[in-house]
């Protein structure tokens, strides 16, 4: 993979440091993420993996006192360049959160929220987009007859797939997922994992997870973080069978974390 990464890389961080006020949450992170791959970020709580994820679509901008050093290159463009509008970045790099967070609106209005912001107003276009996104998120069959119903009436797992569909409706290049199954039951989790496997044919997925089995199951590459540093970044198989760094092995085998 290393030899052809110039063709396949889509986003990379270059010597990134991140601060919450005086607290340094990430130290010197340099990482390439490859196109149409699933990259998992693992590590104990507070290791900075979520911070890194949210830094990739400038969601950390919303936190007062947050500060970034270094570069995040998305298709060669530094998204922290003062010229860059974070709103544009977020339209191309979607995000799914830990807790399913559908809007208190109808299923249809949830899906079409993003496209409407970008000016898609034609009803049949919106309907087509909703159907397509819901099919991609494997939710269509369950909700096609109740699109007008409140998204709040869906189960947790359905809500999370709705949130994925909502992000997909923006036709993003990258999908960031912040522990998307941690609030779900095992059956819903399995559905989401299957979905991720399907989605990686089209999208680049970067996922933060607490669940190491999950990282092993679904990801192509895995990055292990500890106290704000990237300890090891390797093919998932290698990380879980024969890691280069002792600390990674200790974490994987449950000796700490």
């Amino acid at each position: 993979m290393e030899n052809d990464h110039f063709d396949t890389e889509i986003i990379k961080t270059k010597n990134v440091n991140f601060y919450y006020g005086a607290f340094k949450a990430l130290t010197d992170i340099t990482m390439n993420f490859e196109k149409r791959n699933v990259t998992a970020l693992i590590g104990p709580s507070g290791c900075g993996k979520s911070t890194l994820l949210r830094l990739l679509n400038r969601m950390n901008d919303l936190i007062a006192g947050a500060r970034v050093e270094g570069e995040v290159l998305f298709e060669g463009m530094n998204i922290y360049d003062p010229e860059v509008d974070p709103v544009e970045v977020r339209r191309r790099i979607g995000m799914v959160f830990q807790k399913p967070n559908p809007f208190p609106k109808s299923i249809f209005n949830n899906i079409t929220y993003g496209p409407r912001l970008t000016g898609t107003a034609n009803k049949s276009d919106l309907e087509a987009l909703a159907e397509q996104s819901l099919k991609q998120a494997v939710l269509w069959d369950e909700v096609k007859d109740i699109l007008g119903r409140s998204a709040m009436t869906l189960s947790g797992g359905q809500q999370q797939r709705l949130c994925i569909a909502r992000a997909l409706a923006m036709k993003p290049d990258i999908l960031l997922m912040d522990e998307p199954t941690s609030a779900l039951d095992p059956i819903s989790t399995a559905k989401i994992e299957e979905l991720i496997d399907e989605l990686k044919k089209t999208y680049t997925i970067i996922i933060v997870t607490h669940n190491m089995q999950q990282a092993a199951r679904i990801s192509d590459k895995t990055g292990f973080f500890y106290i704000g540093k990237l300890i090891e970044y390797n093919a998932t198989e290698k990380i879980f069978t024969n890691p280069d760094v002792k600390q990674t092995e200790d974490y994987i085998t449950g000796r700490f974390g």
Partner: protein, 295 residues
């Protein structure tokens, strides 16, 4: 005495105290109705509510309070037209847009506004606004609907603003994050997510602000002008119900027709504010149950 017995005693003490306040409230309502109802031996309910003439001291007297009801409604509506945008938008600014230092200053000012005695605001209306209105628009008097509406609006803004602000704060952060993550701007997030999600609370705030305006006495007594007639322009004087009651109760002979008529006016006013409160309650309950889902 065991701990269990103590618990029972404490529980009963609280129960008795809450009962006392409800009991006193109940007595006031009973009293209001007992003193007001006898009027209807002299006048029909219809003539009282829809009667166009309020001449309680004439002989024979006329007890039509329609001009007073219209006066109350009109100053309430006009004050809401001023207070709702000011109150709601200031709440949005404070909760979503203002930098922390500005937020503190604005909140302090609005609290100060809430603490101003109504009689002081009434002075302001009489001494500053009334002469200005009179000169600018060449009116016979500056004590009129516009003046009363402005002052009532100043009184309603803190109520509307602080309750709306609570409703806006209560919107879960997850909704905002989801909106930003879909590439919404701050303004789009406020307009399409935050305000709709807080709408039940904001509606409650507006209705409670209106209830505050309709029940306010001192301001309308001082600056509404006191004419018991249906107004033809916003520069006409009116005599809202509370002003009429406050101004005339001292003169009305005990248990005369006039006295009963003022109490009956009080009943009407009570029912109106009660309705406002019930509507506010209904809205906040209804939207709470369905998670304001249909918006």
């Amino acid at each position: 005495m065991t701990r269990h017995q103590k618990e029972i005693i404490i529980k009963n003490v609280f129960f008795v105290f809450s009962l006392i306040s409800i009991f006193i409230l109940g007595l006031i309502v009973v009293f209001l109705f007992r003193e007001g109802i006898p009027l209807f031996r002299e006048v029909s309910l219809r003539d009282f509510i829809f009667g166009m003439e309020w001449y309680p001291t004439y002989s024979p007297p006329s007890y039509g309070i329609w001009p007073l009801i219209v006066g109350s409604l009109i100053v309430t509506i006009f004050s809401s037209l001023i207070a709702v945008p000011l109150g709601v938008l200031s709440a949005v600014y404070i909760s979503e847009i203002a930098p922390p230092a500005m937020k503190e200053v604005l909140k302090a000012i609005i609290e100060l506004l809430a603490g101003l005695p109504s009689v002081v605001l009434g002075f302001f209306g009489m001494v500053i606004i009334a002469p200005w209105l009179q000169e600018t628009f060449d009116l016979p008097t500056g004590l009129n609907i516009v003046n009363a509406s402005v002052i009532l609006a100043i009184m309603a803004v803190p109520t509307i603003s602080s309750i709306s602000e609570d409703a806006l704060y209560a919107v879960p952060n997850e909704f905002k994050e989801a909106s930003y993550a879909l590439g919404a701007t701050k303004f789009e997030t406020i307009a399409r997510i935050i305000i709709p999600a807080a709408l039940s609370g904001i509606s409650t705030a507006i209705i409670l602000g209106m209830a505050r305006a309709i029940g306010e006495t001192m301001v309308v007594l001082m600056v509404a002008g006191g004419a018991a007639a249906i107004p033809e322009s916003i520069f006409d004087s009116v005599r809202p119900m509370p002003a009429s009651i406050a101004a005339e109760m001292g003169e009305a002979p005990f248990r005369s027709g006039h006295y009963h008529a003022l109490f009956a006016t009080g009943i009407v006013l009570f029912l109106m504010t009660l309705a406002f409160n019930l509507i506010a309650d209904y809205i906040s309950q209804k939207f709470k149950e369905v998670g304001s889902a249909t918006l």
